[in-house]
């Protein structure tokens, strides 16, 4: 690991963005992601890049609208209450088909909730919170290295599909320290952003560009003739993403009778429990969705068809478990180990490997 460097997950967001050629960061402090804007404030201006501390998360997401509309690689980061404030902007970004990256370091909710870790935003992130039935691409890292790598992938997918991409971290991933290989990743060529505003006479064709989020009353983006044609196009785009961008990690899953399904920090905990169970000859494995939307329904459906049962480990009252139930389609039992199994009843409680192991033993 030539470029190996010890850092927190929140700092890895910055290094990943730098390696992705991010031009600007716009954000508002909120725990537990404060290290992210602080990293950009420290590292971006000296490199000739833009950092602005926005007056709110509502403003931050609109700054992304402006920066993305001008064709730049821009991003923000926030935690759960701030994510709520960004939802109108997310809907506008989806309507204007603007590529950008939002890092969400989850904390406990609802409301002010807690300032500690949790996995309670799955539903609002994968289902989207603004009006209009759009889609967010959602990537879920499980290590500091993966935070760094998936931020880079996020920028690529955002540009490829002209769509906002969310990197869903959490309070534990954000704050743990791990060694990271700071390697820029190449995902291949991307189309020119010839739709971006940059000044009429700077356009190759010297024709005015008009970027907007009102596809019903203005000419819709991408040259579609009317509102419904454009909506149809977005449907096709979302289908194309579902068809080709599903990512997941399968661990010890080949011969597993019981398959754990977990993302983020809960997947790390699950792996430890699986190792302990495997040492005793229990055939248990893990499917870790890396894309939460699009969700790897088919791989779970196939496992269900082969007689696998599922245990979802998720630090919430049960959100991703709904998608796993959908995938299982009633053909396989879906068990759930959630927030009520934390080792402490406070916001500092975690689902620990021992508890997951205990549940595996109970189920097999």
């Amino acid at each position: 690991m030539a470029n190996g460097r010890l850092m927190q997950g929140n700092e890895a967001v910055g290094w990943g963005a730098l390696n992705a050629g991010c031009d600007g960061f716009f954000g508002y402090p909120i725990t537990p992601q404060n290290e992210v804007p602080e990293w950009f404030a420290r590292e971006f201006p000296s490199r000739g890049k833009v950092f602005v501390q926005s007056p709110s998360e509502t403003a931050a997401i609109m700054m992304l609208y402006g920066g993305a509309g001008a064709g730049f690689r821009v991003m923000t980061s926030t935690s759960s209450p701030g994510w709520g404030l960004m939802q109108e902007g997310m809907s506008h970004l989806a309507a204007a088909e603007l590529p950008c990256v939002i890092v969400l370091v989850q904390r406990g909710g609802p409301g002010q909730g807690s300032i500690r870790h949790a996995q309670m935003d799955y539903r609002c992130v994968t289902r989207t919170g603004g009006g209009g039935g759009y889609r967010n691409i959602v990537l879920a890292p499980a290590s500091v290295q993966e935070v760094h790598d998936l931020v880079q992938l996020a920028f690529h997918l955002a540009d490829k599909y002209r769509n906002p991409v969310v990197v869903l971290s959490d309070g534990i991933l954000g704050l743990i320290g791990e060694t990271v290989d700071l390697k820029p990743l190449d995902f291949g060529p991307l189309p020119d952003k010839d739709w971006a505003v940059r000044g009429r006479d700077r356009q190759k064709d010297v024709v005015r560009r008009y970027v907007h989020s009102c596809p019903s009353t203005a000419p819709p983006p991408c040259g579609y003739p009317d509102y419904v044609s454009w909506l149809e196009h977005t449907g096709h785009k979302y289908q194309a993403i579902e068809d080709s961008e599903i990512r997941y990690e399968a661990y010890e899953s080949e011969d597993a009778d019981l398959l754990l399904v977990a993302y983020g920090y809960a997947s790390r905990v699950s792996k430890e429990a699986i190792m302990a169970a495997r040492a005793e000859g229990i055939r248990v494995g893990l499917v870790r969705p890396i894309t939460l939307w699009p969700f790897p329904f088919q791989v779970l459906r196939d496992k269900a068809g082969r007689g696998c049962s599922f245990l979802v480990v998720e630090d919430s009252l049960g959100q991703m478990v709904e998608d796993v139930r959908t995938a299982a389609g009633g053909e396989a039992p879906v068990h759930f180990l959630g927030l009520l199994s934390r080792h402490l009843p406070t916001d500092g409680g975690m689902i620990l490997p021992d508890r997951v192991y205990e549940e595996i033993r109970r189920l097999v």
Binding site: V197, R208, Y210, H212
Partner: protein
């Protein structure tokens, strides 16, 4: 500015910026504001590199000028302009916003941009109501004015008092220029155009944020004729929103 006189009065059709006829109600002065912006951009020869940001509301019809334009959410225009200007510091960036867009839902963003002294130009179209939704109470509705949400007339008890945006902007250290104009006659037109020109010149000189509020007739929602609307501005709005320059400094700070 390419050796062209910026004081030259242009009365003919705009050559580059007004290539489409914007939609609008009879007597709506937002379209006149659009024309002023187009004339100034052409005079300063910056229409080809400028980027316009419009909010949401009836003022957004000004977004049809032949200038690269981005239309955002209701209230987010100053945030969008902030990002664009920071990323493209050599590009003239301006917002066109309504009173609701800038001073109600976008007030936080507006104050943020003023306090940071963003090197942008904000053009506020003040027609004292929410034009595109039926003329409801705006932050700039004059006291006593009847609107669909102040059926008895605006009272302090229920609707508070109008915001004087040009006076407010002038109090910010990051602001280099703040003025208010009205379009009651050709003289007012030229005076207002001079304010808009100065505002863009301040931006070009990176002097600080520049702000121009323009009183704008809304005959359709005021239920007045265009001529009566001008009288309304003179008698009801100007006493609340006096015209003139409230700040004009070489460099903000």
């Amino acid at each position: 500015m390419n050796g062209r006189s910026v004081n030259k009065i242009r009365v003919g059709a705009l050559q580059r910026t007004l290539t489409m006829i914007p939609p609008g109600c009879p007597g709506c002065q937002h379209l006149t504001i659009g024309r002023i912006i187009g004339e100034v951009l052409e005079d300063l020869d910056i229409d080809g590199k400028a980027i316009a940001v419009t909010g949401i509301g009836d003022h957004s019809t000004i977004g049809v000028l032949n200038v690269d334009t981005i239309q955002g959410s209701h209230g987010g225009a100053t945030d969008m302009a902030t990002a664009i200007k920071r990323l493209l510091p050599d590009t003239p960036v301006y917002t066109v916003q309504g009173d609701g867009d800038c001073l109600a839902i976008g007030a936080g963003s507006f104050l943020g941009a003023l306090s940071r002294g963003e090197l942008i130009t904000i053009i506020l179209c003040n027609n004292g109501n929410y034009g595109s939704t039926g003329g409801q109470l705006a932050p700039t509705t004059p006291m006593g004015q009847k609107t669909p949400t102040t059926p008895q007339g605006r009272s302090a008890a229920s609707g508070g008092y109008p915001i004087g945006a040009a006076e407010l902007a002038a109090t910010f250290r990051g602001v280099a220029y703040s003025a208010r104009g009205a379009l009651l006659d050709p003289r007012g037109y030229q005076r207002t155009k001079g304010m808009v020109r100065k505002a863009f010149q301040k931006q070009i000189a990176a002097a600080g944020l520049s702000f121009v509020e323009i009183l704008s007739a809304c005959p359709a929602n005021w239920h007045l004729s265009p001529v009566e609307s001008l009288k309304w501005i003179e008698e009801q709005m100007i006493p609340e929103f006096p015209l003139g320059e409230f700040k004009n400094v070489e460099r903000a700070g």
